[in-house]
């Protein structure tokens, strides 16, 4: 009996190892889809006119945000929120100052898409990360995991949706460019094919030594993003908290795939549990 139990324990331990210990499987670093488009924002060109903020609201039929500054008189969003998919923030420290545009980064390997149960968050045509309310249960897990805190929830509504920049995909479908890049009077935010934007950014860096922090944010950060940034002040100061290069879903999906092995492991464990129970029962019977 004791020996049996030991062998049983061993099988159980083996099963546990099989299913639980993260057998991290190599997960390829993703690359942008071939049709990827994006935005390139350059802090040295932005004058903070917020034309893009207004244009974004119009193009997306967003209500004004009167909760912030001005006692209800102004549409003055204090950050991305349920009324605002795009915002211009100001960083100032002594003499140093910079504007920074915030909207969805359209990650190459997006955490929000990895999170969403039914694919309400979806990386589709042009690599745009889109949202479909019909498949959304409002769990807000996408908000929890987005490293840029982009998705916002309509807290004030009884039938809330998630609000985030979808790179004006309704305009892209009509062959138009996003509203924000279209209206920018200074070319501070431009729209284009991802590969072209990257080449453009590299060229600006090469031609203007000393003008920028020598880095294109989004080229490699967090697995890469289709919205790219050039800046004359350190990116951390603009609110980019994370400088690591690993895509956020990398670890979780490696573990998950390692553990589940295409669902073979749970099936094996189930069979094992059943088998052990049958054996125990038979032993119980024959003991009589």
């Amino acid at each position: 009996m004791d020996i049996d139990r030991r062998s049983l324990l061993k099988t159980a331990a083996a099963a546990a190892t099989l299913t639980i210990i993260p057998a991290a499987e190599a997960r390829e670093r993703r690359v942008a889809p071939s049709d990827a488009v994006g935005l390139l924002y350059d802090t040295t060109r932005c004058v903070g006119c917020k034309a893009c903020v207004v244009a974004c609201k119009q193009a997306n039929e967003m209500a004004p945000d009167v909760d912030g500054y001005g006692g209800g008189l102004y549409d003055a969003p204090e950050g991305l929120n349920e009324y605002t998919k795009n915002v211009i923030a100001l960083y100032r420290e002594g003499e140093e100052q910079s504007f920074v545009k915030k909207q969805c980064m359209h990650c190459i390997d997006p955490a929000c898409v990895g999170a969403c149960m039914l694919g309400a968050m979806h990386k589709g045509a042009f690599g745009v990360v889109s949202y479909d309310a019909a498949k959304c249960v409002g769990c807000r897990y996408c908000e929890t995991v987005c490293p840029f805190n982009v998705p916002k929830f309509e807290w004030s509504k009884k039938a809330p949706k998630i609000v985030k920049c979808e790179l004006c995909r309704h305009r892209l479908a009509e062959g138009k460019e996003p509203a924000c890049s279209e209206v920018c009077p200074r070319g501070a935010v431009i729209f284009g094919r991802y590969a072209d934007l990257l080449a453009d950014a590299r060229e600006r860096l090469a031609k203007n030594p000393g003008k920028y922090v020598p880095k294109i944010y989004g080229e490699r950060e967090l697995g890469g993003t289709q919205v790219l940034y050039l800046s004359h002040v350190p990116f951390e100061k603009l609110g980019f908290r994370f400088q690591g290069e690993e895509a956020v879903p990398h670890v979780q999906q490696s573990v998950q795939h390692g553990v589940y092995k295409g669902f073979a492991a749970p099936v094996a464990l189930y069979a094992l549990l059943g088998a052990v129970m049958f054996r125990n029962r038979r032993r119980g019977d024959s003991d009589e």
Partner: protein, 368 residues
């Protein structure tokens, strides 16, 4: 009705009224949740801690059916009942927390849209299935023998096996959930071992709950010492895993830094080790339940760092809804235990083939 029972009902009634209000005025107005802290008390406490405390059924089932310790069989039924109630309440909390609960039915049925990378999908499907499994496991105690119970009886082995597979899957995946928060999770809590640590905590907390129940109902106290040993062992294993993992990834220095996070981290560790020093199984179980609860709560709320400017402290509504649901759960437990043969182990009049086969291996029981 005793006075305590009336208090439970009162708390439950307040909770239910606040739940109705939550649907009338929306999530924003009734909670302190924000875009920085989109998940709050309901998820961290009622779901993540609550389902672990509801793992008594899982833990005892493993002991009885897999490790063949038949002497624990009398503990199975009360444990399964608390599990069924705990998981049902967790499911209810999720429905209250979801912004668009009317789309919930799509989760199991829109299988063509399933995102198989989503740990949350797995958690949701497994919990839905597990709630059903738990109530099915209880039917022999609640229904008169009929064709349905006889059918269930025949397939009970596979249902019980499912009742062990599903918690293994979703309890570990609850840990994976926060793995995806990645850089937003404090480095002391963010580790690829999260799924394993969550699995260990749910088992330890499950055994702790069984110890509580038995101690409170003053039954089967002789069996508790062994359960206590399991919990002690789980606690030590948990601490060892966590420290070795941190050491291997050179993060121990972060734990030495005694800011809020460092202090909470060490409180968790000490709580896990306490039962090894306490002889009283009841107090030991209390420490384990606290240690595991704190660890899980911290992973979802305290160690979650959405960035500067965000704060969260649950609103009064959130708290009273949580309290109300817990009160409701306890009230239903008391009512069911009085009405059905649950606490006494197997009632004599029951003619369940499978259940009999699962009686303790050397079977001399004439009684109970």
């Amino acid at each position: 009705m005793s006075r305590n029972f009336k208090i439970l009902l009162l708390l439950a009634a307040i909770g239910i009224m606040l739940i109705i209000r939550r649907f009338a005025i929306g999530l924003g107005a009734s909670t302190a949740l924000s875009d920085g802290y989109p998940l709050g008390l309901w998820i961290a406490l009622d779901v993540v801690v609550g389902t672990a405390l509801a793992c008594g059924g899982y833990a005892v089932a493993l002991l009885v059916y897999i490790f063949n310790r038949g002497q624990y069989h009398p503990l199975v039924r009360p444990a399964i009942l608390t599990s069924a109630l705990g998981y049902s309440m967790a499911g209810l909390s999720v429905a209250i927390d979801l912004g668009r609960p009317w789309n919930m039915w799509k989760i199991p049925l829109y299988f063509r849209n399933w995102n198989l990378n989503s740990a949350l999908l797995e958690v949701a499907l497994c919990i839905m299935a597990y709630v059903c499994v738990l109530w099915i496991e209880l039917t022999p105690a609640m229904l008169k023998p009929s064709r349905i119970t006889r059918f269930l009886d025949r397939i009970l082995v596979w249902i019980i096996a499912l009742g062990m597979l599903l918690p293994t899957m979703h309890q570990s995946s609850l840990g994976s959930l926060m793995l995806l928060a990645g850089p937003k999770l404090h480095p002391l809590w963010n580790t690829p071992l999260l799924p394993l640590l969550f699995l260990i905590t749910c088992l330890a907390m499950g055994y702790a709950m069984v110890v509580f129940e038995s101690a409170i109902s003053r039954r089967h106290t002789a069996l508790l010492a062994v359960l206590q040993k399991i919990a002690v062992f789980a606690g030590i294993a948990f601490v060892a895993l966590r420290l070795i993992d941190l050491a291997l990834r050179s993060r121990l220095s972060i734990a030495m830094h005694l800011d809020l996070y460092g202090i909470i981290f060490w409180i968790e560790i000490v709580l896990w080790l306490m039962p090894a020093m306490i002889a009283n199984p009841f107090r030991g179980a209390m420490c384990i339940a606290l240690a595991g609860g704190l660890y899980r709560f911290d992973t979802f709320l305290v160690a979650f760092q959405p960035g500067p400017g965000w704060h969260y402290f649950p609103s009064v509504s959130e708290m009273f809804i949580s309290i109300g649901l817990i009160a409701l759960e306890i009230a239903i437990y008391i009512a069911l235990v009085k009405r059905f043969p649950i606490l006494g182990g197997m009632p004599a009049q029951e003619h369940s083939r499978v259940a009999q086969a699962f009686q303790p291996a050397p079977r001399h029981q004439e009684t109970t």
